[in-house]
Each structure stands twice: as structure tokens, then as C-alpha cells.
């Protein structure tokens, strides 16, 4: 009581009145935030409470133990070993890998298609520019799902049946209505495989991969050395044949040592044996997503190139650079800065669009973990939450990687 009167008497101007929480801009933001926080917590508590009560009513619990129970369904496209006796978790992993494979394949081909179409749309060639405009406008204005379904229908309806290759023998590339078969790499010297618990990668592949990385590092060192010599003496030593040797000879030797050969697909009975089968679903998703997203990337590339002032190319011409070099050394590095951020979101879109796989029967994360597993175990809450988290992690990873790259090409501002 006494303290109150003292502080009130001391300095009325500095005193704190309750109404200042609302009217004083110094405090109002705190008030708003506290109210928002309380509201948020109330909503969260309400949702959790509802969920708990609903789960109790249904006699369910919240546990991920089902991931270790047998799945009991088959997956047609398996990058790693899987059969129906394995667990739901394993099925989810297979689905995740399928998603990953599809996303990476589609990102690469969509970029190639997009860059080509974007550059060609700007070309002086009248007919090519028109064709590219038609392609881009068409695919930008129809749904991705429709695009995938059309490619899926083309694959299933207009490809020949395997039996039409009756007398063909071993083939390098076979397109049938069950999928496309390509040769598989085989090693006659099997060095066994590494047991990592979840996957068992073959040691041959690991050795080859390691050697390739080493060769690439050696090539980088060569180029860097050439750059150093050029800086010191002004003369750049020729490196192309050294690089070629370093990059090709050791892998070739290793391949020969491992007895590398290709296993060609061959018709046995009603179906092809040997080779790698790229199922119809994968092909439909891959081509569908690439062609669809390629149209968007083409527009991004075009706007990136057009955003570079004409003077840049003219200056490069004035320096005596040929058109190819003008593009490579002057225009593209600058255009990349404009291109990368929207390109990132296209890559994210591809990753998210892989979840349309079910439409053509592609067993991705969404069809396994978020589809059949949910139907069989009735664990919607766990399944969908887990699936969302995995997609979220993938998206954050991609945007993180792309922002690293973006920082590298970004304009260095003083």
C-alpha cells in the first residue's frame, strides 16, 4: 500500500498504468503477442484434447509399433530387397527410396528439357520458337495429374506386348506395355556385400564409386594446378588429355578387374528376364513430371536470360567473345542468379508431385506408408504425420542445398 503511493507520487510521467498495455505502442505489441500465444496454446490444447478423446473412443493408441509388424503387401518397384513378409517400416523405406529415385530422375530431365526449351523459345529460328511456345503454354495450363495419366495411358495402351519380341533374342533396350527394360551391370567377380543392417550394398559398387570420386578429385587437382601455373607464368598447360586419362583409365581397369559385363533383357516365357525393368508407373511418372515441370523451368530460364541487360551481351561481343562464349561466360552466370530461386521451388514441386504416383500405381512413400499401410493397420494419424514429416524433411533439405548453391553464385556485394 505504501509503496504504491510512493511510486504514484514520485513521477506520474514514468508510472505504468494498465491501459498503457493497450494504448502505448511500446507495450501493445507485448499484449498482442501474449494474447496470440494464449490463443495458440488454447487451440493446440483443444486439438490435442479432442485427439486424445477421439482415440480413446475408438479404442486406439498413438504408437509407431506397427512399423515393425509384417506388411503383407507387395511392391512392384524395389530399389532394395523387399517381400511381403517384411515390416511396414521396410515398406515405407522402399516407398521413400522410390520417391527419391523418381524425384532425382525427374529433376535432372526436367532441367534438361526446361533449359533446352527455354533457350530454343528465344532462338531466332521461327518454327522452333513457335513449337516451344506451344509446348510451354500447353503444359503450363493443364494439370500435372492429367499429364501423368496421359503418359501412363500411352505406355499401357500403345506399347507392344512382350510377346511381340518373340524372336528378337537379347536386346539392349526393350519398350513393352509392362515397362522399359534396359541392360543391367553385372560383375563376374563378386566381392561380396557390406551388411549395413537396413541395406546390403555390393562391395563392387562401393569400390567403383570410391574410385570415381578419387579420380574426380585428381582431375580437380589437375585443373587447379593448371590455374596456378597460368597465374604465375601466363601460360596455361594443356590438361585435357591428362584429365581424360585420369578420369577414364583407373575406372576402366577396375571394371576389367571385376569382370564387368552387361546383362541384356531376354524374353523367357511371357516376360523379359534379366536387365533392369523400369516399370510403366515409373516411366509414366518420370516422363510426365519431366515434361510438365520442364515447361515451367523453360519459362524460368527464358525470364532469367531476358532479365540480363542487352548491353552485357553487346559488351561481350565488343570484347571479341564468340556467341557461345558470350552465353557461357557472360550471360548465363548472371542469369543463374535470377534462375536459381524459382528453380528451387520447381524442384520442390517435383518432389511434392511425386506423391501423385498412386494415380498410375507407382509405389512411392505416399502409396506405401501413407496408403496401403494405413488401410491395413488403420493408423491414419501416425502414418500421415510420419509421411508429412518425411516430405517436410526432404523439402527443407532441397531448399537448404539450393540456397547453399545460390549463395555461391550470388552477386558478391561489397
Amino acid at each position: 500500500m505504501s509503496t504504491l503511493t510512493i511510486s504514484g507520487g514520485n513521477a506520474r510521467a514514468n508510472s505504468f498504468a494498465l491501459s498503457m498495455l493497450l494504448h502505448d505502442t511500446r507495450y501493445r505489441s507485448y499484449t498482442i503477442q501474449i494474447i496470440a500465444l494464449m490463443g495458440l496454446m488454447l487451440v493446440a490444447a483443444w486439438l490435442v484434447d479432442n485427439t486424445v478423446r477421439n482415440l480413446a473412443t475408438l479404442g486406439k493408441d498413438f504408437s509407431f509399433a506397427y512399423l515393425w509388424t509384417p506388411a503383407g503387401y507387395d511392391i512392384n518397384q524395389r530399389p532394395i530387397d523387399y517381400d511381403s513378409q517384411m515390416s511396414h517400416g521396410r515398406a515405407a523405406l522402399v516407398g521413400f527410396l522410390n520417391t527419391l529415385v523418381l524425384a532425382i530422375l525427374s529433376c535432372v530431365t526436367a532441367t534438361i528439357i526446361g533449359v533446352l526449351a527455354g533457350v530454343l523459345r528465344l532462338s531466332n529460328n521461327w518454327i522452333v520458337a513457335r513449337l516451344m511456345t506451344v509446348y510451354i503454354e500447353t503444359f503450363r495450363n493443364i494439370p500435372a495429374l492429367l499429364c501423368i495419366l496421359v503418359i501412363g495411358a500411352v505406355m499401357a495402351q500403345s506399347m507392344p506386348a512382350p510377346s511381340s519380341y518373340r524372336d528378337a533374342g537379347a536386346l539392349a533396350l526393350v519398350a513393352t506395355n509392362r515397362g522399359i527394360y534396359i541392360p543391367e551391370p553385372l560383375f563376374s567377380q563378386d566381392w561380396g556385400s557390406l551388411n549395413l543392417g537396413v541395406v546390403q550394398p555390393s562391395l563392387n559398387a562401393i569400390a567403383l564409386l570410391l574410385l570415381l570420386v578419387l579420380c574426380f578429385l585428381a582431375h580437380r587437382a589437375l585443373v587447379r594446378h593448371a590455374g596456378r601455373v597460368q597465374r604465375l607464368t601466363g601460360i596455361r598447360p594443356k590438361t585435357w588429355w591428362k584429365s581424360l586419362l585420369v578420369l577414364t583409365v583407373p575406372p576402366a581397369l577396375l571394371l576389367a578387374a571385376m569382370g564387368f559385363h552387361l546383362g541384356y533383357p531376354q524374353l523367357r516365357g511371357f516376360n523379359f528376364q534379366g536387365g533392369i525393368q523400369l516399370g510403366n508407373a515409373l516411366i509414366a511418372m518420370w516422363i510426365g513430371l519431366s515434361v510438365y515441370t520442364g515447361a515451367f523451368i523453360a519459362e524460368i530460364v527464358r525470364s532469367g536470360i531476358q532479365s540480363i541487360a542487352k548491353g552485357q551481351a553487346e559488351a561481350a561481343n565488343a570484347l571479341g567473345l564468340r556467341p557461345g562464349r558470350t552465353m557461357r561466360l557472360v550471360v548465363l552466370p548472371q542469369a543463374l542468379r535470377v534462375i536459381i530461386p524459382p528453380l528451387t521451388s520447381q524442384y520442390l514441386d517435383i518432389t511434392k508431385h511425386t506423391s501423385l504416383g498412386l494415380a498410375v500405381g507407382y509405389m512411392d512413400l505416399r502409396s506405401t506408408l501413407g496408403g496401403i499401410s494405413i488401410n491395413q493397420t488403420g493408423r491414419e494419424l501416425e502414418g500421415i504425420l510420419l509421411m508429412m514429416l518425411i516430405y517436410l524433411a526432404m523439402s527443407l533439405l532441397i531448399s537448404g542445398l539450393m540456397s547453399l548453391y545460390n549463395n555461391r553464385v550470388k552477386l558478391q556485394v561489397r
Partner: protein
């Protein structure tokens, strides 16, 4: 001095001679635009070959189109083994592709709603029209709800009454301070909607005047009608919410900013399908036991949530592109936060974001096809249903082409409009 040594100087201009044949007319155009170097020539030849191949493949198929038949078998009999398109399926089933299983005798209702959509949009899209038309735009959502789903007109009217009640509460509560006033207004309005609006509508319909149309359940909606309903509602709701969210992300209040960032990044990080699944499978867990509301409404909410995050990012891009001086000038004029946003910042930021905004809308409209995965009858689901019927088993291309063409029409129109808008709003002098 030197000029004296020149013996002869031409006094009049020479008449222009015609350029060489190779440098003029069609030949020159062809050389410059089709055969300008080896690469260009190769591309031209390849393109011509590709177009020719396409025409050879599709030409006869299109030329032999059959428009009158009852089933695919009948089509094939008419064609007699020749390749040919069977457009009879579109002729036979177009009402289904457009309206789903909407009762045929009430087709006029969604058609009227669709026509009125343009009337409602017109004052928003074209600034030359009288501003009074905006009142129709405000009334349009309720009117459309009534036309499409039927039932009593009192329900949408009572929903609108919520806004009137909110405005009244605001008048009364505003003197209690901004924050308290807002809380009271929003609280009162939400309470009205949750607990009183339905009862009031029921009472009025019973005792005053029915004003009812035959009601149509959500299960019967489908086709492009469904796509347009979801798409248009999603677009209309996500723009204002997206603006708020973008402002939230720019906010100086750490909590508001964090919540906005987490929401945006989460929604943008997951596929739309997972959100639709949440709508169809999980919402029952999150809501009080026993609540169940319409699947289409749930989908619209989820599509809106999804689009809001994207729109927020687009508008953030527009805000970031605005020079800092604009904010400072608005503050210097003495405008408070909301007035500065409304009068100075947003008009410019929105103008900058128009192209991306419209392509986001187009993406949203195209993504409405994903509702097929949770069992709603969008055009693609209906094409599957048509293919499953005995009459039209095995028909693919005609349906796909029709659906694709309709989507193309809508999306292309949207993108052309955005170009028009960009031109009209262009104020810089370049």
C-alpha cells in the same frame, strides 16, 4: 585546294535499286528465320519432321471423328477398323463431366451461378465498371451457395447477418480499445455463426417464408463444377489470408513472425495430397467427438490453407521488392500501420506480384484435380468412372483431350488476364 582537282562530282541522288533477290522478301525471311546457320537449319528440319510425324499420327485419327454413337463398340463398327476419334463419348457424357451427378433437372442452377460469377467478378477485374456492382460481388458467395446446394436462402442470409452483428459490436466495443474491441467483435461474430445462425435460419424458414430450393448433397457435385467451386473459393479466400500471413512474416513481433514462418514453411514443405488426406481422414480426430462436416467444405479449407502459404510467399516477394523509402515515406506522412499498408505498401506490392500471383492461382486451380485421391468426383475421377462403364470401356484420349482442353481454356484465360492487368497498371515510364 584539293577540291579543285576533283574533275567530276555527282549532283543528284541515284535512284534506289532493288535489293538482290536473296536479300529480300520471302527468301530473306526464310534464310534469316529458318536456315540461319547449320544448327538452325538442322533444328528447322527436325521440327518440320516432328510436326509432320505428329500430323501423320493424329491427322487421320481426328479426320475420322465419330460424333454419333452410343458406345465404343458402335464407334468401332462405324469406323470399320480405321483409326478414328470417338467424340461421341463427350456428346454422350458431357453433362457428367461438367456437373458430376448433379440432378439433371436442376442444371440451370449451377449454370446461373457460373454466369453470375462473371457479373460478380467484373467490378473486381475491370475498374471502369460502376462501384455499386461490388455489392453484388459481396452477396455472390451466399447466393451461389444457395443456388448450388439448395436449401433455404435464410442460411446464407444469417451467415451474412454475422458480419452485420460484427460491425455493430465493433461500433459498441471500439471505445474499449482496439485490442479488446477486436476480441469482442470476432468472438461475438464467431459465436453467432457457431450457435445462433443455424437456428435463426431454421426458425425464419419455418415461421416466415421458406425461400427454399431443392437441396442437393455434396456427394452429387462433381466434374468441372466441383473444380470451379473449390478453385474459385480457394482463390478468393487465400488472397486476403495470404496478405495477412505475409504481413505476419514481416512483423517485428517475434511470436507472430515465428508462427507465420513455421506455418508457411510447413505447408509449403508437404504435398497438397497429405493435406487433403488430413481433411478426409484426420480432421475427425482433431475435432470434438461427433462433429462431422461436409467433405467439400473440409477440402476447401485445406486447399485454402495450402494456397494461403504460397500466396503469402508471393506477396512477401512483392514486399521485399519495394524500396525501403516507400515504408519510410508512409511513416513520414503520419500514416499508422494499417493505413500505410492499405494506401501505400500493398497497392504497389500487389502490382509487383501480379504475374506470380496469377500463376499461383492457376496452379491452385489445376491442383483441384488432386481431390480425386480422397474420393471426390473431379473431372479426372469421372473420366475413370466413364471408362468403367460397359459402354465406354477402353476409351482414353478423347476424355483426356476434353478435360485438358477445358482446363487449358480456364488457365490460359487467367494468364492472359494477368498480362492485361500488368499492362494496365504499368505506371513506370519506360
Amino acid at each position: 585546294m584539293a577540291s579543285h582537282e576533283i574533275s567530276w562530282v555527282r549532283q543528284q541522288m541515284l535512284a534506289q535499286s532493288a535489293p538482290p533477290v536473296r536479300q529480300s522478301g520471302v527468301l530473306r525471311w526464310v534464310r534469316e528465320n529458318l536456315f540461319n546457320g547449320w544448327l538452325s537449319a538442322g533444328l528447322t528440319v527436325a521440327s518440320v519432321l516432328a510436326i509432320a510425324a505428329l500430323l501423320m499420327a493424329v491427322g487421320p485419327w481426328l479426320a475420322n471423328s465419330v460424333w454419333q454413337a452410343g458406345s465404343l463398340n458402335e464407334c468401332r463398327q462405324i469406323l470399320g477398323g480405321e483409326p478414328g476419334a470417338c467424340w461421341a463419348v463427350i456428346r454422350d457424357r458431357w453433362p457428367q463431366l461438367i456437373f458430376g451427378f448433379y440432378p439433371a433437372e436442376h442444371y440451370a442452377r449451377p449454370v446461373l451461378a457460373f454466369v453470375l460469377l462473371f457479373v460478380a467478378l467484373a467490378p473486381l477485374l475491370f475498374s471502369r465498371l460502376p462501384r455499386k456492382l461490388l455489392w453484388f460481388s459481396v452477396a455472390y458467395p451466399g447466393l451461389t451457395f444457395w443456388l448450388v446446394w439448395g436449401g433455404s436462402l435464410w442460411l446464407p442470409l444469417m451467415a451474412y447477418a454475422g458480419f452485420a452483428i460484427g460491425a455493430m459490436l465493433w461500433r459498441l466495443a471500439a471505445r474499449l480499445g482496439v485490442v479488446l474491441g477486436t476480441v469482442l467483435t470476432v468472438g461475438g461474430t464467431v459465436l453467432w455463426w457457431l450457435y445462433a445462425a443455424g437456428e435463426a435460419a431454421g426458425w425464419l424458414a419455418e415461421h416466415l417464408l421458406a425461400l427454399a430450393l431443392v437441396s442437393v448433397s455434396s456427394r452429387e457435385l462433381g466434374g468441372f463444377l466441383l473444380s470451379i467451386i473449390i478453385g474459385v473459393t480457394g482463390i478468393a479466400l487465400s488472397l486476403p489470408l495470404g496478405i495477412l500471413l505475409a504481413l505476419g512474416r514481416q512483423s517485428t513481433m517475434p511470436l507472430i513472425k515465428t508462427v507465420s514462418v513455421v506455418f508457411i514453411e510447413f505447408v509449403r514443405g508437404v504435398p497438397l495430397i497429405t493435406l487433403l488426406f488430413t481433411a478426409s481422414l484426420l480432421l475427425n480426430y482433431f475435432l470434438p467427438p461427433g462433429t462431422s462436416f461436409d467433405l467439400i467444405l473440409r477440402v476447401i479449407i485445406m486447399v485454402t490453407v495450402f494456397a494461403t502459404a504460397y500466396i503469402a510467399e508471393v506477396i512477401r516477394g512483392g514486399l521485399a521488392a519495394l524500396p525501403r523509402g516507400q515504408y519510410e515515406a508512409a511513416q513520414g506522412l503520419g500514416l499508422n500501420y494499417w493505413n500505410a499498408q492499405r494506401l501505400v505498401i500493398m497497392p504497389q506490392a500487389l502490382k509487383i506480384s501480379i504475374p506470380v500471383l496469377v500463376s499461383t492461382f492457376i496452379g491452385l486451380f489445376k491442383d483441384t484435380t488432386l481431390v480425386v485421391f480422397i474420393g471426390l468426383l473431379d473431372p479426372i475421377a469421372l473420366s475413370t468412372a466413364i471408362r468403367a462403364s460397359t459402354d465406354w470401356q477402353g476409351i482414353y484420349w478423347e476424355l483426356f483431350i476434353f478435360i485438358g482442353a477445358v482446363f487449358f481454356l480456364f488457365c490460359f484465360a487467367m494468364s492472359r488476364y494477368s498480362m492485361y492487368l500488368e499492362r494496365r497498371l504499368k505506371t513506370d515510364h519506360r
